[in-house]
């Protein structure tokens, strides 16, 4: 079986800035493994998603087995194992947003972007062909007072209507 093992052609390493940040991170915890989540966030920021090379690198850095990294990556929905669009649009669809018509927002986004909604194991499904957007549903974003909300990468957009969604998409497309 061993000949079928994945061959990692280009190993992953942190770039200078991330390496500095990682070094600072490691010092915060009495055990290295504890830096898992922040380290994976860093790596994902650098390459966009968690590749096998990243998993291997993180495992070496934190002195755990590769499986421990894979385990964590698949547990937390914020880590991607596939390439995602430049802008990840997270649409909240939990009850308070549902009461304020998040479905309308989602349908509007689907029509506008002409794409389906990504599932956790198939992100490609929700990614536009030009690789600009990935549309996904998420659970409560803790902004129920300004529902419905979407989150584009790190930015929260509140009290959405179809017009507002159009505005946001226009802004992003122009960037």
């Amino acid at each position: 079986m061993s000949d079928k093992l994945i061959q990692i052609e280009t190993p992953f390493v942190f770039n200078g800035e991330n390496q500095r940040e990682f070094d600072a991170l490691i010092g915060r915890y009495p055990v290295k493994e504890a830096a898992m989540l922040p380290t994976l966030h860093l790596a994902q920021r650098q390459v966009g998603y968690i590749t096998p090379a990243v998993m291997k690198y993180v495992a070496e850095q934190l002195e755990v087995s590769v499986m421990k990294v894979k385990d964590v990556v698949t547990f937390y929905p914020m880590f991607f194992e596939e390439p995602v669009g430049e802008y990840v649009i997270r649409v909240c669809h939990t009850l308070p947003c549902a009461l304020r018509d998040c479905k309308g927002v989602l349908d509007h986004l689907k029509a506008k972007l002409d794409t389906d909604v990504a599932s956790e194991t198939n992100l490609a499904k929700g990614t536009t062909p030009d690789g600009k957007f990935t549309l996904m549903k998420v659970e409560c974003l803790a902004s129920c007072d300004v529902a419905p909300v979407i989150m584009v990468n790190g930015d929260l957009h509140k009290n959405l209507t179809s017009e507002k969604v159009d505005e946001i998409l226009n802004d992003l497309s122009e960037k």
Partner: protein, 491 residues
């Protein structure tokens, strides 16, 4: 009309309150300075105990009592601040983090001083990018100003605060799930005992506190216990022997969303009623209140019959619900309860960590049953059975009538109760996620049974008028007082 009493949120909207200098103008860090100048650590712990402060994260456990379980001779001891605010309907911590992070830092400092803690991890949910940014900036500033780091203000006190980002898992808000996640593993809750106070993160004693709880500390220290305990009602806790006072002191950041005109966070004394709160939040959007979720999506639902219920820890417990995180979701007459339950069950099925059997496979099962009912494929038997309810003699029993058998409603109730039994308050799961699933499932179904029956009967979702959709309290044991085991019934 009930007035807001802003304490934690008093200066929230002051421009630049997130900077040290502005925060300082509004008494920032003076409470901490007072604590280290005037009190011994044990005095602070005693003050917190006397203040009756209950954890604001969801369980409502006495903070002072929690601190008293921490062994003082085992070092290091850690503080984990729970900023993994994920309960649907809850959003008060986000504003603290984004707008007034120094208040949290001050709270953490007081807790660290009281408990002899040197390292604090603030577990922030991954989606709070702005919140983490603001808190990180504030922490940096506090280090620069000498309020964090080594030998703070020349007292020999060392405190480090680190922020730790989550990555989108609801269960990491459970205190032991949070600890596991902080240790770099999947956020699967641990078996208790041992409780985190004895064996928490990295195997060391750990205090896990919600953001809001910690933000209360500066005001308890600054204004004194007496001032604090004047806010909110006190009850007699009849569950202990002899009955002890069960204070519900302080203010609560009520998060109100759904069908109200002005959703948002309102800081009010604990103990106002449901209808008062809706009033404060600009009144109902719509004609009639159909239902209110009083404490985040995990809490059993309240019907329009129960709008006089006081929103505090004890009253809601007695009403067989809970204050939880204080996330209140209001639904008007246009809402279909089956649809709402489906939404919530999808949330729980998605967020179950999958560690223990009943929750891993029970939660999606419950979702699937509700889905089937919502799709119009619910099953109903052609047979009937005797109807149990309040009989002629005024007692629970056979009413002499018959009722139709809705197999899927029986199944829904049974499966949910097998995960965690809402009547006996016992769960077969490792953590309380189980009861967070079965509570809404069973309470929605029992209290709004006509709407569930209609969906099965008609083969599609039918939204009934409020009066028809709701089961009156006297007819349904869903409203009964908190379950008292037979052995204690005579007490």
């Amino acid at each position: 009309m009930v007035q807001e009493r802003r304490i934690l949120y008093e200066h929230l909207d002051v421009p630049d309150i997130n900077t040290f200098d502005v925060f300082r103008q509004y008494d920032g860090y003076t409470r901490f300075e007072k604590a280290i100048a005037e009190y011994q650590p044990d005095d602070i712990a005693k003050m917190v105990m006397d203040s009756g402060l209950k954890g604001r994260g969801g369980a409502g456990f006495s903070t002072g009592l929690k601190w008293s379980f921490v062994p003082r001779d085992i070092k290091p001891c850690y503080l984990c601040c729970n900023a993994d605010e994920s309960e649907p309907g809850t959003f008060s911590n986000r504003y603290v983090l984004e707008k007034n992070p120094h208040l949290l830092i001050e709270g953490i400092l007081i807790c660290c001083y009281a408990m002899g803690i040197e390292t604090t991890y603030v577990y922030i949910r991954g989606e709070f990018t702005l919140g983490k940014e603001m808190l990180d900036a504030a922490i940096k500033e506090a280090y620069e100003k000498g309020y964090l780091g080594k030998d703070i203000r020349g007292t020999g006190l060392n405190v480090d605060i680190y922020t730790h980002p989550g990555a989108g898992a609801y269960i990491c808000g459970e205190e032991t799930g949070l600890i596991e996640s902080l240790e770099g593993k999947r956020g699967q809750p641990r078996n208790k005992p041992p409780f985190p106070a004895v064996e928490g993160v990295f195997g060391k004693p750990t205090v896990v506190q919600n953001v809001e709880t910690l933000c209360n500390l500066p005001f308890i220290v600054g204004n004194g216990v007496e001032w604090y305990t004047q806010m909110g009602p006190t009850y007699a806790d009849t569950r202990s022997d002899p009955p002890t006072p069960d204070p519900n002191t302080g203010t609560k950041l009520y998060c109100i969303s759904g069908d109200v005109n002005e959703p948002g966070v309102y800081e009010l004394d604990l103990g106002l009623t449901c209808s008062e709160l809706i009033e404060v939040a600009g009144g109902l959007r719509g004609e009639e209140v159909k239902a209110v979720i009083p404490g985040g999506s995990s809490a059993p639902i309240l019907t329009h019959y129960e709008l006089d219920t006081r929103l505090d820890f004890t009253s809601l417990t007695l009403a067989k619900s809970m204050l939880g995180s204080g996330g209140i979701i209001v639904m008007n007459e246009t809402r279909n309860i089956v649809d709402c339950l489906l939404n919530i069950m999808k949330f729980y099925a998605h967020e179950s960590c999958g560690q223990c059997t009943p929750c891993r496979w029970g939660t999606p099962w419950v979702r699937d049953i509700v889905q089937r009912i919502a799709d119009g494929n619910g099953r109903k038997s052609t047979m009937t059975r005797p109807k149990f309810g309040v009989a002629e003699n005024g007692r629970w029993g056979d009413t002499g009538e018959t009722e139709e058998i809705y197999e899927d409603l029986d199944l829904l109730e049974s499966v949910a109760n097998n995960i965690a039994n809402v009547d006996t308050m016992t769960w077969n799961t490792i953590c309380v996620f189980g009861i967070a699933v079965s509570w809404p499932a069973v309470s929605y179904m029992r209290k709004f049974r006509p709407e569930f029956e209609a969906a099965i009967r008609e083969g599609e979702l039918v939204t009934l008028p409020v009066a028809e959709a709701t089961v009156p309290p006297e007819e349904n044991y869903a409203y009964q007082q908190r379950f008292v085991p037979k052995e204690f019934a005579d007490l």
